[in-house]
Symmetry: none
Subunit: 193 residues, 2 copies
């Protein structure tokens, strides 16, 4: 005999989770019940119809967010560097760096490029970001090349080095930020351990 309703619903839920792109018709066949039964089941389980499921998967932000960010190699290539003064790096926005739906680059990649450039420009074994203020001026699209220019601007009252970074695509500013950097050398204030 067929399984109980509860059992079928358990399996149904599983099945839909595994292969969300399945029609009621198909489900009815695999569970050897009528389409109407499947639909009743879905209603009881509050499982939306196929099209809504597809849409959900398509628009779901979660997946995008959890998606891999190979952070270490995304920070761009340094093409010019004058220690304690200025630095320039290039970051090509590849498909890995964007939201797949709209091809817009995720913000933290631009941040990472700028931040790592700020670290690099400082002539010290150790430079750490203490604070930063950044602005994402316009979206950057897949395929664009971001040129980040960092300039050391001096020290603040706590003798942290101030680095200004401006990033451009085709001379249009897309990102700017100021980074306040700890240094180990001249600056003491050895932080905690």
């Amino acid at each position: 005999m067929r399984k109980t309703k509860v059992e079928r619903q358990r399996l149904l839920k599983e099945k839909i989770e595994q292969t969300p792109f399945i029609t009621d018709e198909h489900l009815a066949k695999t569970f050897q019940v009528s389409i109407q039964t499947i639909r009743l089941d879905r209603m009881e389980l509050a499982i939306p119809e196929l099209r809504e499921r597809i849409k959900y998967v398509a628009t779901n932000q979660w997946n995008e967010t959890v998606k891999a960010l190979s952070l270490d190699e995304v920070i761009g290539e340094i093409i010019d560097l004058e220690l304690d003064k200025r630095a320039i790096s290039i970051l090509d926005i590849t498909s890995d760096l964007v939201f797949s739906r709209n091809k817009i680059a995720r913000g933290h990649h631009l941040f990472a490029q700028a931040n790592s450039l700020a670290v690099a420009v400082i002539n010290d074994e150790l430079a750490l970001t203490a604070k930063s203020e950044v602005k994402f001026r316009r979206q950057v699209i897949e395929g664009e090349r971001v040129i980040a220019k960092a300039a050391v601007e001096g020290k603040d009252e706590k003798s942290r080095t101030i680095v200004a970074v401006h990033s451009y695509v085709d001379n249009e500013k897309v990102f700017s930020g100021v980074f306040y950097m700890y240094q180990s050398n001249e600056n003491k204030g050895e932080k905690n351990k």
Copy 2:
């Protein structure tokens, strides 16, 4: 007079690429032509219908998701999420995330964790960081576990969503930031006509 056919088709293609989840009806209105014209255009341009477009996006993203599941430790794991309210994620600082010399975590990883949590907490198809102010309160060392807590704080004067994120290691605050997020905010709410 209206634009030429060629021009309209160029714009049509663009529009659909930008916002693939748009019906022919909506397109007809925005281009001030009949639905049939839009359909002729799509045929000539070999652009599939809405459902196929959604499906395409969904399947792509689904694959990404499957991939992401094996690399979920990269920007942290979301362990709690209440859309439009708050979210919590955990990031274990592994050796990949630190400066090799001193085992201190690179700033942009903390930023990435916080930023992506800010994106995730927003209940919208599209959320982008417009601006942020962050503070790195103390260094994080290899082996430590960073818990980031995001809270949606409302909207600013430009109706960007404000998300505050604070990150802790053992109840000690190591990072804090405020993110101002763009939202697309379009459909989903409208039903009546």
